[in-house]
């Protein structure tokens, strides 16, 4: 696994895209075929499943290190990563061996089938045989949550460099339903297996948030606008009499949204649509919370089905009559999509994402102001002449979200971060005034710069009033502007509200603590937007 560890370290050590691609391409050139295939699998999110529970791993690692479990747990809190904690806490290996990545993956897959008594000696033996990064990587394979910090786009670019096959071809071949056990380098990468094509989705095209002013995009006539829906992005495929629903994370969600099975009754074979899955009733989207109740469920109870029925809000057509039409300009794709969806009866679980027609940017900005009332996140802008690209790219698609809601709040508790920010206080609890009292209403841990986290950390150390385990109560002194996307009533919170995506927008050092917002201000926001 030394070669793979070298690759991992090279990727981990640099932030430069070209260096990452070069390291990957070199690896794809040199590593054994089985290792290359597993690397592609891991980098496209097809990781081996967890082979042993985290609880046992902690116990065995603490025991092997001769440390009490509580001390292991404290260390884990700081490191923030189980595989890394174990790698660091164990004594150095007795004798290191170098076996290929595919060997260790096979080992981990075999382990999964064994009972715990049989697993333990094999895992201990592996820890004795692997040191440093290799031990860390082995633990990552064991715990099943392995990510390498390289986007699929970069991986595809490196693969293209190493094989000479074009990037779009490779990107498409790597989509959908394949596993490293069941295929080979030859079948997956070098030749295109037609039997795999039936369920295979197209790579998603992702947009960036717009950077400057919308009018900088040029003539309004070049652009198409629609709501930016607050649901789950999905690609609906109807081929060979079957249908498949894919998430942006290439997860097959077909069974989770049984309503969409009816699409087969209405859509012709050889149709692929891009759209948003929304909980939808009486012609309106329901709040994201309604959809949330269905995420993570493999089967959906009748009651939930009735309360939060879903539709696909279609906004693009990628395949028509079995033909890949991604190269056709968006304006034309949209016209074909409209023809396809317009005449569907209301019982079909497909809606057409309506156009937000506009003649000038100011007018569109006014429409955007209505986003929150309409239950959407803002607008999407799409260039009419653009093909359907893959991955996150700038230029032809832009998100134009509404500004977040904000409130000025007082920091009252601080907790150290972990992982990247193990030595800093980064997780804060915020409160608003209720008469003379401060009522906590949200936590937030992102949005400040590293320099700001450094400063607030030094301040927290010197202004701690009380400690509860890892949490410190601090002097109420600092006001932060908290931004969030939505607000709802909640019985689980003392303040009676729950926020969606709270984060720190600004450290208001100019603002005295008495001038922070009040519970009444928060309740007013709930009245208006909840």
């Amino acid at each position: 696994m030394r070669e793979f560890a070298r690759l991992f370290t090279a990727l981990d050590q640099t932030t430069r895209t070209n260096a990452k691609v070069a390291a990957l391409a070199e690896y794809f050139d040199r590593a054994p075929e089985a290792d290359r295939l597993w690397t592609v699998a891991i980098l496209s999110g097809r990781r081996p499943k967890r082979a042993v529970t985290a609880t046992r791993l902690r116990e065995w690692a603490a025991e092997r290190a001769g440390l009490p479990l509580w001390l292991f747990e404290e260390s884990y809190t700081i490191v923030g990563d189980l595989a890394e904690t174990i790698a660091l806490i164990l004594p150095p290996p007795a004798e290191e061996v170098d076996l290929p990545l595919s060997h260790w993956i096979a080992e981990v897959r075999q382990l999964a089938a064994l009972d715990e008594v049989a697993k333990k000696p094999r895992i201990l033996a592996a820890w004795e045989a692997l040191g440093g990064t290799e031990r860390f990587l082995y633990n990552k394979l064991l715990t099943g949550g392995f990510r390498m910090g390289v986007s699929q786009t970069l991986m595809t670019r490196a693969l293209s460099k190493a094989t000479g096959i074009s990037e779009p071809d490779l990107a498409h071949r790597l989509m959908g339903d394949w596993s490293a056990e069941a295929t080979s380098w030859e079948a997956l990468i070098l030749t295109d297996d037609p039997t795999a094509r039936l369920s295979r989705p197209y790579p998603f095209y992702l947009a960036y948030q717009i950077e400057g002013a919308a009018e900088d995009l040029g003539p309004p006539d070049d652009w198409f606008a629609e709501w930016k829906w607050d649901g789950i992005r999905g690609q609906l495929i109807c081929r060979g009499g079957e249908h498949f629903l894919w998430s942006r994370g290439e997860e097959l969600m077909t069974d989770r949204f049984p309503e969409l099975a009816a699409a087969r009754d209405w859509l012709p074979d050889g149709t692929v649509m891009d759209g948003e899955i929304l909980a939808f009733a009486d012609g309106h989207p329901l709040p994201f919370a309604a959809l949330q109740r269905r995420i993570g469920r493999k089967t959906v109870p009748k009651k939930v089905l009735a309360e939060a029925p879903v539709v696909l809000m279609a906004y693009d057509l990628l395949e028509e009559g079995g033909q890949d039409i991604r190269e056709i300009p968006f304006g034309e794709r949209r016209a074909r999509l409209t023809r396809l969806v317009e005449d569907l009866p209301p019982e079909a679980p497909i809606r057409l994402s309506p156009e937000a027609a506009f003649t000038d940017w100011t007018g569109l900005a006014t429409q955007r102001e209505g986003s929150r009332e309409a239950g959407v996140e803002g607008l999407m802008l799409k260039r009419r002449a653009a093909p359907y690209l893959s991955g996150r790219r700038k230029g032809d698609w832009w998100k134009w979200k509404v500004d977040p809601l904000t409130i000025d709040a007082v920091m009252i508790y601080a907790q150290a971060g972990h992982g990247r920010r193990a030595n800093l206080y980064t997780d804060f609890t915020f409160a608003v005034w209720d008469g003379p009292d401060l009522v906590p209403f949200t936590k937030a841990y992102s949005g400040l710069t590293d320099a700001e986290f450094n400063r607030i950390t030094a301040w927290v150390r010197k202004n701690t009033l009380e400690r509860f385990g890892p949490v410190r109560r601090v002097t109420p002194r600092h006001v932060f502007e908290i931004a969030f996307e939505g607000i709802q009533a909640s019985t689980r919170h003392k303040s009676g509200v729950a926020l969606r995506f709270p984060r720190m927008l600004r450290w208001r050092e100019d603002k005295p603590v008495e001038e922070a917002n009040t519970l009444a201000d928060l309740e007013a926001l709930l009245q208006q937007y909840g």
Binding site: L67, L71, I78, G80, L88, R420, R421, A422, N423
Partner: protein
């Protein structure tokens, strides 16, 4: 009735009533005993300073104050106590301070490192009843490799960059870490440049006779083209700023104990992180404590509450005192004060 503690924490810092002096106080006092010159331990504004002969020049330079000196191991009567300073292995001149009163012995460790490097006076264990220990890296995830191994990693990184015609910019504290690196690496490889804050401390330490390889201060006047592939020792704060621009596509690295954690390594966004600390690792803390023979151990800066529980598990009478020392913060102001 229990005897009062020989050392206590007062408003201004760790205080000894029997000798009427403070150790590394953070507010101005009459008499300050200073373990070493880092900014969180040696602060301005005291009336009298006492430090080791090797620590004094940097303190004088940084704070512009008069410093009375003491030799390692020399015993001095202060009030009704006997006080002596002993090598802490942290930075050149750093000391643990031993305080004896009526047969009872306390040692305040300051910052310390048990494993030797090629510059600082090696750590010496001091027998005592009560040991006030730092525990910056007081968790079992911290285990330092041998000095020679760590330095070899830096040598290899520098050699590779040199071959590619790039500068190697290495971030390290201006006082201690920077000079330890200079003394430890293979300085014959090529030219070594330094940030002004580092070079100022180099000058002071050279002046007191410490052997350091030749270095060249980076100034607007020097022509970097004359020093291709040079190693550049910089302060961590300089590395984040415009000062770095002149080195173009340099390879960057940090040397710190925090680099043991992948998350912190990644946050720094440097190409490399070398795990080199001037503080004791987990095993080093354990060894130091055992060798003092102390029955009571008090933890200061670092993972104090965890460390205290561990000590109690091991059968010590353990405590925590809250100080204003900062340990090895990657972003410590230590080097900024040296400018």
């Amino acid at each position: 009735m229990a005897k009062p503690d020989l050392l206590t924490v007062a408003e201004a810092g760790i205080y000894c009533a029997a000798g009427d002096f403070y150790i590394d106080p953070w507010r101005p006092v009459d008499r300050a005993l200073i373990t070493h010159g880092h900014a969180d331990h040696a602060r301005p504004g005291h009336a009298r300073y006492l430090a080791t002969e090797a620590a004094a020049p940097v303190i004088r330079y940084r704070l512009g104050v008069a410093v009375e000196t003491i030799r390692y191991g020399e015993e001095r009567r202060i009030g009704s106590t006997n006080v002596s300073f002993h090598p802490a292995g942290h930075v050149p001149g750093s000391a643990q301070i031993r305080v004896e009163h009526k047969g009872e012995v306390w040692v305040a460790s300051g910052d310390y490192k048990v494993a030797p490097d090629r510059l600082s006076e090696p750590f010496e264990p001091v027998r005592c009843d009560t040991f006030i220990t730092e525990c910056t890296f007081g968790l079992p995830i911290f285990r330092w490799q041998a000095e020679a191994e760590a330095m070899a990693e830096i040598d290899a990184w520098w050699a590779k960059n040199r071959a590619e015609g790039r500068f190697s910019v290495l971030g390290a504290y201006a006082l201690g870490k920077a000079q330890r690196l200079l003394a430890g690496i293979d300085s014959s490889q090529g030219p070594i440049l330094t940030h002004g804050a580092v070079e100022n401390v180099n000058d002071v330490l050279r002046g007191q006779g410490l052997p350091l390889p030749d270095t060249l201060r980076v100034t607007p006047e020097i022509d970097l083209k004359e020093h291709p592939g040079a190693l550049v020792i910089a302060t961590p704060s300089a590395m984040g700023g415009p000062w770095m621009k002149r080195f173009g596509q340099a390879s960057t690295a940090f040397a710190s104990g925090w680099m043991a954690l992948r998350g912190v390594r990644r946050r720094r966004a440097a190409d490399r992180g070398f795990v080199i600390s001037d503080h004791a690792d987990w095993a080093g803390l354990g060894q130091a404590i055992t060798e003092t023979g102390a029955t009571r151990v008090i933890a200061t800066h670092g993972y104090t509450s965890v460390f205290r529980r561990w000590l109690e598990d091991q059968g010590y009478e353990a405590g925590v005192i809250t100080t204003q020392y900062e340990g090895e913060s990657l972003d410590a102001p230590e080097e900024d004060v040296v400018e």
